[in-house]
Amino acid sequence: MLSVRFQHQIGQSRIDAAFDAPAGVTALFGKSGAGKTTIVKAVAGLLRPDSGRIALDDSVLSDSSTGRFLPPHRRGIGYVFQEARLFPHLNVRQNLLYGRWFSRRKTIASLPQVTEMLGIGHLLNRKPAALSGGELQRVALGRAILSDPQMLLLDEPLAALDEARKSEILPYLERLRDDLAVPILYVSHSAAEIARLATTIVLVDAGRVIASGPAAAILSDPATTPLMGAREAGALLTARLGAQDKDGLTRLDSRAGPIWLPHIDRPIGTELRLRIMAQDVMIALERPVNLSALNVLPATITDLTRTEGGIQLRMDAGGEALLARITARSARVLDLHPRKQVHAVLKAVSVAPGSIGTTPSAVQPA
């Protein structure tokens, strides 16, 4: 568990950070210039906070009251910078293996595994000057992972990558999160990435932490919706892979009922978590027929909140929270109100593959 509590003045900006990052992925989310990178730097030891204390489990990384300040190279971190920062005089292989010279463990991953996952096997003998933007970013990610860190700091590691590549890397990060009991700080602007990976979310605005907590709670909390953007609101659902149907669909069993999704290549019994975006959920008063939407989950409305351009609905479906975003007109026409029984209608293909992740084994989502 990483505990971060510090204040720092940088230029005209004041950073006041206070949050805990348990093992798993802690997402730092906030606008450009909010202070995300500054927070990550303080954790890395590249910046000495004016005051405060940062500790990883029992080891104090920095504490202004005692004057303790562990230098970066003794913090056991793997840091993917917002800019790649590859070593220009080393080739890709040497860059990737750089951290190995200094690490004792050598457990997490092997070079072939990492290059395979990142698709950089053919670049090993190139110098960074001969790489494209996305290639640089992938090598930087590989370098951090291969240094066998006790804590990963990822500052927008996938920003320059295409969706296809992202969807190859995300499962790998998920595995890292689950296999290593180490905290991962993850800065990203993509709510989909965060929803998929994050166990904890920290919302940063104008240098201050304005909300932090378990991902499921933050993502489905109407209070944080305006901060994350209404389009990013959604519920996190835990489900177990129940069956692989012959027509290519996968059945997931959740407390809310069975959910059919396009084929998910995981063994039966795997615990998964899916993010169901509020805007992908329709409300029907009776079970619809002759409609292409396969998933109809009975639910009870718990509350209605007005949001930018519509109504956000919270429902309880067999104990799982569900969110739906609909227009005010629909809410009026359908006469929706708390405690009303409805059906949440969800297209099978609406759940983005990027937002289905495995449940973190180390930390259960709250």
């Binding site: 840091y79 800019e83 370098r143």
Partner: protein, 233 residues
Amino acid sequence: MSAADWLTVQEWQAVALSLRVASVAAIASLPFALLTAYALARWRFPGHAILNGLVHLPLVLPPVVTGYLLLLTFGRRGTIGAFLDQFGIVFAFRWTGAALAAAIMAFPLMVRAIRLTIEAVDPRLEQAAATLGASRIWVFLTVTLPLILPGILAGLVLAFAKAMGEFGATITFVSNIPGQTQTLPSAIYSFLQVPGGEGAAGRLVLIAIAIALSAVFLSEWLARMLASRISGG
């Protein structure tokens, strides 16, 4: 016609000695220059300005003065010289003294070249190395040092060239003893001091030029290798 025929034994010795003095001066002063340059570029300490001034002194002082000061301190009767003598380290009137004089005269050039490249190294790369577990010294060895190789090379060339041409401090400190302390510039000077010596001096000047240019060309070639090593595929 080989160079051996073209030169007298004594001239030949001067060439060999100059080569040795210049190489040793350039290479032996490198570690000190590196440390000084690093300290000046990166550290803030009370004596910073003083050290910086001190490094420039050999440039500012007329070479004879530097030579004279060397004689006073490193001579057999000098404070440091007498002390080192106990350990069998003698500079006065030895080729080692010529190398010391050349090294000191070339020191400011070397330090400045290296310092300029150290200041141009992106500290963010060094930070990146630190986050990957490299301690200060490892960061220096694996990141800073390779990146400042062009400056080190430039410093070595400047020092070598300067050492090849150094005359005033050398002749004042270690005199002009053929086979022992007579470098090319001293030999050239001797010829220029007597009537009709210009021809012989000119010949030695051409040799000095040839040697120095070879060193310069070699360093350019190395520098280009270094550069292509960074941009290369």
